[in-house]
Structure formats: C-alpha cells, structure tokens
Symmetry: C2
Subunit: 165 residues, 2 copies
C-alpha cells in the first residue's frame, strides 16, 4: 500500500499502522440506525491523510455511503495488539489518473475489466479524527493483557471542521 | 473465552470466530453523527447469542452507549482473512453471579479490585444481525486475494425485532 508523506509523527504512525493492517472494516450508519460494517482494502493514504479505496458503483455500500456521509474505519491486528479507529467524510469520485495510480491486480475479482471498468469508482475518506492503540516497540506481552496498558494516541486532523468533545 | 451452545450452525461458526479473535472494535454513534470505535475484550457468547463484556461505569464508552442503544461490533483477523460484523442492542447490568462467571484476571488493569469493584458493570449486546467473511477451511491463499472470494454468511437473529433490507 502506498503512503504519501504525513504532516505529523502521529499521522505518520497512523499511516504505518493502516498500511500494515491494510484491510479496514468500513462502518456506515443506516437510515434505521443500524451500524453496518464490511471489509475493504485500503489502497493509499495520501499526503493530506485521506484514505483511498476502489469499489463498484453498484455495490450496496455505495448506496449506504452516498456523498459526504460520515463513516468510520476500524483496523485491528489482534496478534500484535494494534487497533486503529478513524472517522471521516466520504467522497465518491471517478478520476482516471487516480484510478491508474491506485490500481492493483488484487482488485480484479471485483473489477474484471481492470481500472477502466465502467463500474469502478473511487471512495475517498477524509479523516476528521482518529485514535490508535498499540504496545511500545519491542515489548512482547501476551494477548490477555488489557487495552488500558496500550499506548493510546488520539489525533484531530488540522482540517477537521468540528471540535472534539 | 466462553461459548455457550448456539442454536444454528451459522451462529456456532460466528461464535467460534468471535472466540478466536476475542477483541472487538465496539462502534457507537455519537450525537453529532460521528461513529466512534474502541477495542474491547469479549468475555462470553451466551446460549442466546448475546455477547458479554465487562467495563467500568465511569468509562466514556458507557456514556456513549447508554441503555438499549444500537451498537455494532467488528472482529478482524487479517492474517487468516476472517472478518465478523454484528449489530445489536445494549444493556448495562450489575449482576454479581454473572460477574463472577465472566471474571478473568486480564480485566484487572481496568478493575483493580476485581469483579467486586464498585466500578464494574456488565455490558450485554443482544445481536440483531451479523455477517462474517472467511476462507474455506484448509485453503491457504495470500492476503492479497480479495474479499469477494471469501465465503460470506449473513445471519438474522430469530429474536431480531426488525426486517433486513
């Protein structure tokens, strides 16, 4: 996965964790209040910290996401006790140059005609807020240890339009 | 983690996946629409498929959850390509007998006085709907393969008060 330079050490570490775990659970709120999630491969973290995905325009999640919807992303690697949460706003785009940049053969099961598949759309999530939990480097601690012992970093994007509370 | 007998093969498999991954990302919707998540250790799946957790009454997530709130749980094991989503309704309980049953020393960092800590509360999530994705047994396929190739099972709890759509 491709990581562009990140503005702060916290965002760089967030990008590294996301790149290592790669597959997100993308969470959307449905009209009836249910919070649905499904796995989705992360393709890039750009220099502004936005996360990029590629999917098909007819997939149900696109109906659930729409444009400018608030979504969240969870990344977990239980064996190494690394957990990431990011909250952001979606954009659904068609952009040939960006699709070429992001394309990877691993996407072919969804998009048999490749990045030029008429079904292909880009999903961009601009992060508003994020948090991650991990062990200090080099420690080996069994999985039964508790999340309270994990190093916890909370990030507010400088571009976030709202205050934390 | 403790798994009680499950009513159907799908619920049994769901319970096995949850027990193997153990740590959930618990997702709640905040009043401003943000979807927040944080890691939480699963302690039991009871015979009715409800998931049990233990936490402290003063933790922020309890404020965010309240009673009877819709939450979702994501479990991921990227290395084995297993992903679980469950949506349900919360109850926050104090129950000495149940706390004794669920207690594990791994909870001590949060609850230094053990299961009788006055801060301890039980969080029960009654599943309304769930879905899981996994490889067929015995296959060894690299992580770069796509989620579309995964075996996908969707579950509606017989107790679910609403229809899928």
């Amino acid at each position: 996965m491709d990581i562009k330079p990140q503005a702060t050490p916290e965002l760089r570490r967030l990008a590294e964790l996301v790149a290592a775990i790669e597959i997100a659970m993308l969470v959307t709120a449905e009209p009836d209040g249910a919070l649905r999630s499904r796995p989705l491969r992360t393709l890039q973290i750009d220099s502004e910290g936005a996360l990029w995905f590629m999917t098909t325009i007819s997939s149900p999640k696109i109906g659930e996401i729409d444009e400018h919807r608030r979504v969240s992303l969870s990344y977990m690697h239980p064996a190494s006790e690394r957990f990431v949460w990011a909250s952001g706003v979606t954009q659904i785009l068609r952009d040939e140059a960006k699709a070429r940049e992001l394309w990877t053969p691993g996407l072919r099961p969804w998009l048999p005609d490749g990045r030029d598949d008429p079904e292909a759309v880009l999903l961009k999530v601009t992060i508003e807020e994020a948090e991650y939990w991990e062990r200090g480097h080099g420690e080996v601690i069994p999985l039964t240890a508790a999340a309270r012992e994990l190093h916890n970093v909370r990030i507010k994007s400088p571009r976030a339009p709202r205050e934390s509370h």
